[in-house]
């Protein structure tokens, strides 16, 4: 069945489905008319080195999809919709087996000022090492991004997606397979767009997969940022950690929902997820649903936790007593809160770059 037909055969999901509990599909569909599959522009996509020069050899981006595999259990609605609208905007990012780069590589996605969509297939070869930053920027009213593909056996990938959209709606769907003994750090830095609906799914179907999913979310004004993260342990000796930090200001709302699913036979699985929310204003709201489904009893451990709270006034007082202005103290504490996941996303140089980005966003927030 082609994606458009598949999409049109599906019912609009109800709010009893946790994935759509807080952000109905109608609200993130580009037109609101959920039966329609509108025409979309393509963003400008470029691969550059961390210093702004060309990307190193061994990594390239080309139009078209090399292998399009959506992991089992993915949401059929958004997957089929994005594939349908992105038929002419599909790209594959290929990384040669054994590739290794000292510096991060930036995939720059400029959505311009129109509604656009991108289907990106990640084809990371075996035993490669890469830090990839996908930077999404622009001022379009709507941007959809579907990322499929996989990370080859024994590879190490730090994969950070940074959303810097000025406004509009971001619909993001990830469906990534983690290979045997592969190590993946999947980071999300979100401080842009008026509304984000992200459905990020990772599957470890081979022994020894190691996955860390990290989120650093800053919401302000009336932003509505909804992230769902799903990690499937479908093989023995797999490891995952999900750590999600959201700071909410204004009358914004952040939603973090997680699902750890440990399949029968995934002996030795070790999985946990943590959601931390910092509420910065009276009208902000943070919702968390960290879910677990464990069908295997021989596990190292499966756990989850969530904590919500305001800025600690004692810490503000301490910083003020060291000479910081109240707003500076507050900013420093927000930065420290978000930095605890940023610092896990990759190398020192990547971390420095991300901190610079965060500080500029915080300055804007303060202004």
């Amino acid at each position: 069945m082609d994606p458009a037909t598949e999409y049109q055969s599906l019912d609009e999901p109800g709010r009893s489905n946790h994935l759509w509990r807080y952000t109905p599909w109608r609200r993130v569909h580009p037109t609101g008319d959920v039966s329609g599959i509108p025409e979309m522009d393509s963003p400008v996509v470029g691969l550059i080195g961390f210093d702004g020069g060309p990307a190193p050899d061994g990594i390239r981006i080309q139009q078209g999809i090399v292998s399009d595999t959506i992991m089992p259990g993915s949401d059929a609605l958004t997957g089929s919709f994005l594939r349908a609208v992105a038929a002419d905007s599909s790209w594959t990012l290929s990384v040669e087996s054994g590739f290794s780069s000292e510096h991060p590589v930036i995939l720059d996605v400029d959505v311009g000022d129109s509604a656009s969509v991108l289907h990106l297939c990640l084809d990371v070869g075996r035993l490669s090492e890469l830090e990839l930053v996908t930077r999404v920027r622009g001022s379009g009213e709507w941007f959809g991004m579907l990322r499929t593909g996989g990370v080859g056996d024994g590879s190490s990938l730090n994969d950070v997606v940074v959303s810097l959209l000025d406004k509009g709606t971001l619909l993001r769907v990830d469906s990534i397979n983690v290979g045997r003994d592969a190590q993946v750090r999947a980071g999300t830095v979100s401080s842009g767009s008026d509304r984000t609906k992200a459905d990020l799914r990772y599957r470890m179907a081979e022994t020894g997969g190691n996955l860390r999913v990290l989120g650093s979310i800053l919401s302000a004004g009336s932003m509505h940022l909804d992230h769902h993260v799903e990690i499937h342990h479908d093989a023995p000796e797999t490891f995952s950690r999900l750590s999600w930090h959201s700071a909410c200001d204004g009358d914004s709302r952040t939603i973090g929902t997680g699902m750890l699913r440990v399949a029968d036979g995934s002996t030795g699985a070790d999985a946990s997820q943590l959601f931390h929310n910092l509420l910065l204003s009276e009208d902000a709201e943070a919702d968390s649903i960290p879910e677990l489904e464990v069908l295997e009893h021989e596990v190292v451990g499966c756990g989850h936790g969530t904590a919500n709270g305001p800025i600690d006034e004692d810490q503000v007082f301490y910083l003020e007593s060291r000479g910081l202005e109240p707003s500076e103290a507050r900013g420093a504490l927000i930065a420290a809160f978000l930095n605890s996941t940023l610092s896990e996303m990759g190398s020192e140089s990547l971390h420095d770059w991300l901190v610079g980005l965060l500080n500029s966003e915080l300055r804007e927030l303060d202004a």
């Binding site: 109800g14 009893s16 489905n17 946790h18 029968d264 929310n277 509420l279 910065l280 204003s281 009276e282 009208d283 902000a284 709201e285 943070a286 919702d287 968390s288 649903i289 960290p290 879910e291 677990l292 489904e293 464990v294 069908l295 295997e296 009893h297 021989e298 596990v299 451990g301 499966c302 756990g303 989850h304 936790g305 969530t306 904590a307 919500n308 709270g309 305001p310």
Partner: protein
Amino acid sequence: MPANQEAMDVVGDYKSGWHDPENSTIRFDFGLSEKVVREISALKDEPEWMTDIRVKAYRHFVERPMPTWGNTPMLGEIDFDNICYFLRSGEGTEDDWDDVPEDIRNTFDKLGIPEAEQKWLSGVTAQYESEAVYHSIREDLEEQGVIFLDMDSGLREHPEIVRDWFCSVVPLTDNKFAALNTAVWSGGSFIYVPKGVHVEMPVQAYFRINAKNMGQFERTLIIADEGSSIHYVEGCTAPTYSTDSLHSAVVELIALPGAHIRYSTVQNWSANVYNLVTKRGIAHENSKIEWVDGNIGSKLTMKYPSVILKGEGSHAEVISVAYSGEGQHQDAGAKIHHLASNTTSKILSKSISKNGGRGSYRGLVKVSPKAENCKLNVVCDALILDEGSRSDTYPTMEVANPTARCEHEASVSKVSDNQLFYLMSRGHSEEEALAMIVNGFFEPFTRELPMEYAVELNQLMALEMEGSIG
């Protein structure tokens, strides 16, 4: 083959799985219609307003679709047309144990109810099928104005109080099964504790389904007036049949300012009973509501005891344990709504899955924008004892006030080899060691129960653990 032999063959370890011959005085045909609802109301000679509520609820039940969440395949197996919605087994509610029909008396004697009443209870209601067959309360409490009746008598004798509070906590449109209960409710307990009265010893209700394909829809309403306190304990069992029965209760608790209600349940339905229950309390200023909830039996339990913290300074606690064995799904949890400032809540949930059973924690904690300085803590622990068993947690936290401090943690694990080894090195068999670990795992729950219930639960768990090793 003896009459009970067929049932005994499938009873297995479930020691309450026997049944007595059915001696009903009134039995409705299978199936539900508006006529059935009106006939139940007429049979009980109810006021018109109650009949109207029942009919409205029935219509809502018919219109409302089945839930699309939870164990939908199991829910889909419920055949509402193959259930008896009302069955009367006695001539009325007796207050002298000797006046209860002999066969029913024997049933409750076997379950130890009268013995318990003499030793450690302030009052007892025993419900058999649709209605209470025995009821008593200590004279001194009655003199202090405590009302403890079965719900039908409560409506008859105190219609003004029932009218004020009935459906005030769980509206008839709350969910499909609450609507069903409101349409066909029968039995349950009605309690009113006057201002400042403390009922020192617990009151107990015991619910027994005896007939095949039976629906039990008791309705319980407890009102604790200002500064009063009460501990209510309920237990439930049913025979093991090859066809399914349905238990769909609604419990409404109202804790007025400064009151304290503790509601303890040890649910041990047989593995052919659907247990779909709505339990909710409203806590006013500085009051406290506690749900102590044990789910051992049933085929499918969907039960999420809730508290609405409406008054400033109120507190809620839910302590629940669930054991899921072969073919069982215990989908239990808790819901707390912090509507007022300075409210606190605590949820502790523990579950064990064994022999392919499935245990799920499903919870909601909500802090409203106006509720300042709320504190809440949720802890869920699960043990999976063998291959093929399953544990899920589905917690939801919605926090709309920045001054709230909310914590949630959960873990799923297996029994620690180190703990087993240690206990075995002290001379215990592996089976004994496992039973001790399981009892220790449930200890935060059992210590909140009256002693007799705690001992019973420990014995029950030891029985369930038999044959776990090897």
